[in-house]
């Protein structure tokens, strides 16, 4: 187990290195840089001033040197300055992480709390009316675009409650804050829970057909014991994988929800930074999301061993 952990740690480092090279290169391949955007906003191009700005921001240096400087800065905790706000990149990125983390956490909770039990019920009551209803709901969750659902929720709030649950930095207490995050989290969690539910259902159906389930029933085990103790524990492995992927996705992929509910989170900030070619923000933010994704992946691998003792790491 120890050597496995060390190997996985080095693999994580290698993955992060690969991502850093990839994101750095891709950003430079995309046409235009901050100077182009800055002058585009002014409706003119002054070549001399543009060259001066590129020099001021170090964009005239060779790309490999720019990469080395960035990685060196990262190693020393210096993420550079945002080209747009001219503030330290760390100061721009840090306050947004808890916002997205809260939203993603609640959305994930929503998807687990609803997705797993409903998936089990749907599988256990296969082809019943309840199963059909749950399948229709899960299909709607998967096929409903997030922006459409988000807007519907906002419109319903305005129409029936005369208010709108969009982000504010001073929500007025814990419960108000929970309310503000819960509504967009539910909009995101609806899709995630539909995914988790469908996967739980199919995985459960497969496990419920196994010989050891029949043996358990023959031994007189109760339905509840069979379903939740014997079947779910074995069916949950692929579900855990998907939840892990979802968790990583939610940290950086909530652009639509953050836009519709006007939440100043990581994803919206990242998209805006890409639009401005704000390299220090994009590079560091993508690296942060990559670290989260790789770490979650690692944790999921470890969780496999906890859930299924037959899995041995060597």
């Amino acid at each position: 187990m120890g050597s496995y952990l060390i190997r996985r740690f080095f693999l994580m480092l290698l993955t992060l290195f690969g991502i850093s090279v990839l994101i750095f290169t891709m950003l430079r391949i995309v046409p235009g840089n901050i100077a182009d955007i800055v002058f585009d906003a002014a409706g003119m191009i002054d070549v001399a001033e543009k060259v001066k700005l590129e020099k001021e921001l170090g964009l005239d240096k060779p790309i490999p040197l720019q990469y080395v400087q960035w990685v060196d800065g990262l190693a020393h905790g210096d993420l550079g300055y945002s080209y747009v706000s001219e503030k330290p990149a760390l100061d721009e990125i840090l306050p947004r992480i808890p916002i997205t983390a809260k939203l993603a956490g609640l959305a994930l909770l929503f998807s687990i709390v609803f997705g797993v039990p409903l998936g089990v019920i749907s599988a256990v009551r296969q082809n019943s009316k309840l199963d059909y209803v749950l399948r229709v709901i899960s299909l709607s969750g998967l096929s409903m675009p997030a922006f459409w659902l988000g807007l519907l929720i906002l419109m319903a709030f305005v129409k029936y409650f005369g208010t709108i649950p969009i982000y504010t930095d001073a929500p007025g207490g814990f419960w108000a804050a929970l309310g503000l995050y819960s509504i967009p989290a539910a909009a995101v969690g609806f899709r995630s829970s539909a995914l988790v539910m469908r996967l739980t259902r199919s995985s459960m159906l497969e496990v419920l057909r196994q010989d050891y389930i029949r043996t358990a029933r023959a031994k007189g085990a109760s339905d509840q014991n069979v379903n939740y103790h014997h079947a779910l524990r074995n069916a949950v492995l692929p579900v855990v994988t998907v939840i892990g992927i979802e968790a990583a996705f939610l940290m950086g992929g909530l652009i639509v929800t953050e836009t519709v509910f006007n939440i100043p989170g990581v994803a919206r900030f990242l998209v805006e930074a890409i639009r401005w070619r704000d390299y220090p923000i994009v590079q560091n933010l993508v690296m942060f999301i990559a670290v989260v994704a790789v770490s979650i992946n690692f944790l999921v691998d470890l969780l496999y061993a906890v859930l299924d003792p037959r899995i041995k790491y060597s």
């Binding site: 182009d36 585009d40 002014a42 700005l53």
Partner: protein, 530 residues
């Protein structure tokens, strides 16, 4: 009985009028909440060219002079003093002297003096040691040779030749006075002004906060305790936020006619105004790229245009046909309709298109052998939508065009290197003034003259009108120039858009300008009746 009734009625009327008078009395206090359409690139007005900056930043600053904030039409006739108490031209009309206030302090407590005026214009003209990152309006002051000071309360602009429009430029929301003692770089992130509101903070994608300047030199102003701009990029969310009362006002001139209708249907108390914003949608043709170097082909293209269809399809009828200057009655300098109709492409569409087809046939094109071109434009809806209508209209004269959507950041770079055949562009005029429009967009060598149209003879007329002090004579010259520009197809104007702004009825003293989207956001005497 009759006498009693009359007395009662008089008493009621007197009470009502007293109540009305009390309601009309401005109230101090409250935060005005406005949604902002995007995070502005910075808050340094001099370095930017979008009213995304002017709207939140104008309240931080003062100008020497400014357009009367409650007269909808911005014009030289409507200029009022601000940091200057008075101004006067010398006999030769080449020196403009401003007497300045002596009771003004910057937000950090440093006194304002004439040196700050000189510093601002030295920066704008690139003469100062400190430099702007970019300087999009330096051409506005091309005829200013120097700014001199006489003590702390007098500044004189020395001109190379008479230019009455200098006043119009100095009154613009684009011309605040900057402090000498604050570096240009700081003005982008933490601006210091003399205006009614102090800058508090700007958080990207979140908000911009301004707070009342308690030491504002205009005693008793501002009425508001502050202004908060919540950045809401999604327009549907922004509209819902306004209807739900989360914001008191929409971002100025940001609502389409359809959205205004939607708002009015959901909030019947909302006050909405749809007005021209002095932004034209126009055609740019690469004059050096064959076959567009042929004036006949360009004439045929102009004749193919159905401007009314553009306005009806894109703007639900909320637009105007005109030349390069905003048409009357809102526009001060635009050609009168009778004159406009005499220009090719502004008359009978059917007749014009017949003529255009005859030209195209003569040039060897036909329905079976159309001219294949690309229409390039920015990949944004406000650009793409009219480009699609244009492509449809060009089909009527045997031009088979494909849309070439260009990533926004690459648009001006592409246009500057002339890597296009036909393009569709939007041009915003900071002020309703011929000097700004002509020199910026049509003079030889100007960075914003995207088609590189260059007519030396016409340029002499630019100078002539610019130096003309007689308003009537100048207007005649301006019309003549604009007509020629349109006839030459320098940058055929498709339409001038009108857009909407909405606010809640308790927001008082709001005036939306008729002929500009860049100059009316000082907000010092707005108040909230709640």
């Amino acid at each position: 009985m009759g006498t009693k009734s009359a007395a009662l009625a008089t008493a009621i009327l007197a009470t009502l009028s007293l109540t009305t008078a009390q309601a009309a009395e401005p109230k101090h206090g409250g935060i005005l909440h406005i949604y902002h359409r995007e995070t502005p690139p910075s808050l340094s007005i001099h370095e930017e060219a979008t009213f995304s900056v002017n709207v939140p930043a104008m309240g931080i600053f003062n100008n020497l002079i400014m357009y009367d904030q409650h007269k909808p039409q911005t014009s030289i006739a409507n200029i009022v003093p601000e940091l200057a108490t008075s101004w006067a031209w010398d006999k030769s009309n080449t020196a403009l002297t401003f007497k300045l206030r002596s009771d003004v302090k910057w937000h950090d407590g440093v006194p304002f003096t004439a040196k700050d005026v000189k510093c601002t214009f030295d920066l704008l003209q690139g003469k100062a040691q400190d430099k702007f990152r970019k300087n999009p309006r330096k051409d506005w002051y091309a005829f200013v040779s120097d700014v001199s000071v006489n003590g702390d309360t007098e500044a004189t602009f020395h001109l190379k030749r008479p230019q009455p429009s200098l006043l119009a430029m100095l009154a613009s929301g684009y011309t605040p006075i900057y402090p000498c003692h604050v570096p240009a770089a700081q003005m982008r992130t933490h601006p210091i002004g003399t205006g009614p509101f102090k800058f508090v903070e700007m958080k990207q994608n979140e908000s911009i906060k301004l707070v009342k300047n308690p030491d504002y030199w205009k005693k008793g102003l501002p009425y508001l305790d502050g202004i908060e701009y919540t950045i809401i990029k999604n327009r549907a969310t922004a509209v819902l936020a306004f209807v739900a009362g989360k914001v008191d006002m929409t971002f100025p001139t940001e609502m389409t006619a359809a959205l205004v209708k939607d708002i009015k249907s959901q909030d019947k108390t909302a006050i909405c105004e749809i007005k021209p914003i002095n932004v034209s949608t126009n055609l740019i043709v690469n004059l050096e790229s064959p076959p567009f170097n042929n004036p006949d082909l360009r004439k045929a293209m102009m004749l193919s245009l159905d401007r009314k269809a553009f306005i009806d399809i894109i703007l639900q009828g909320q637009g105007d046909q005109g030349g390069s200057l905003l048409p009357p009655p809102e526009g001060v300098w635009g050609m009168p309709p009778d004159m406009l109709k005499t220009i090719a492409g502004y008359g009978d569409v059917k007749k014009d298109r017949d003529e255009a087809r005859a030209i195209m046939t003569k040039l060897g094109y036909s329905p079976d052998k159309p001219l294949k071109i690309k229409v390039s434009t920015r990949n944004l809806a406000t650009y793409r939508d009219p480009a699609a209508v244009l492509i449809d209209q060009l089909k009527s004269i045997y031009i088979d065009a494909d849309l070439d959507p260009v990533e926004s950041s690459q648009w001006f770079a592409k246009v500057a290197r002339k890597d296009y055949q036909v393009g569709l562009n939007l041009t915003g005029n900071g002020i309703d003034d011929p000097d700004q429009a002509f020199y910026e967009n049509y003079s030889c060598g100007s960075e914003r003259n995207y088609t590189h149209y260059c007519n030396k003879e016409l340029e002499k007329l630019f100078d002539q009108q610019s130096a003309e002090t007689d308003l009537t004579k100048r207007k005649q010259l301006v019309w003549e120039i604009d007509k020629k520009i349109q006839e030459d197809g320098a940058r055929p104007i498709l339409f001038h858009a009108r857009t909407g702004t909405c606010w809640k009825p308790y927001v008082k003293n709001m005036t939306i300008e008729n002929n500009s989207a860049y100059n009316g956001y000082r907000f010092e005497d707005l108040w909230l009746d709640k």
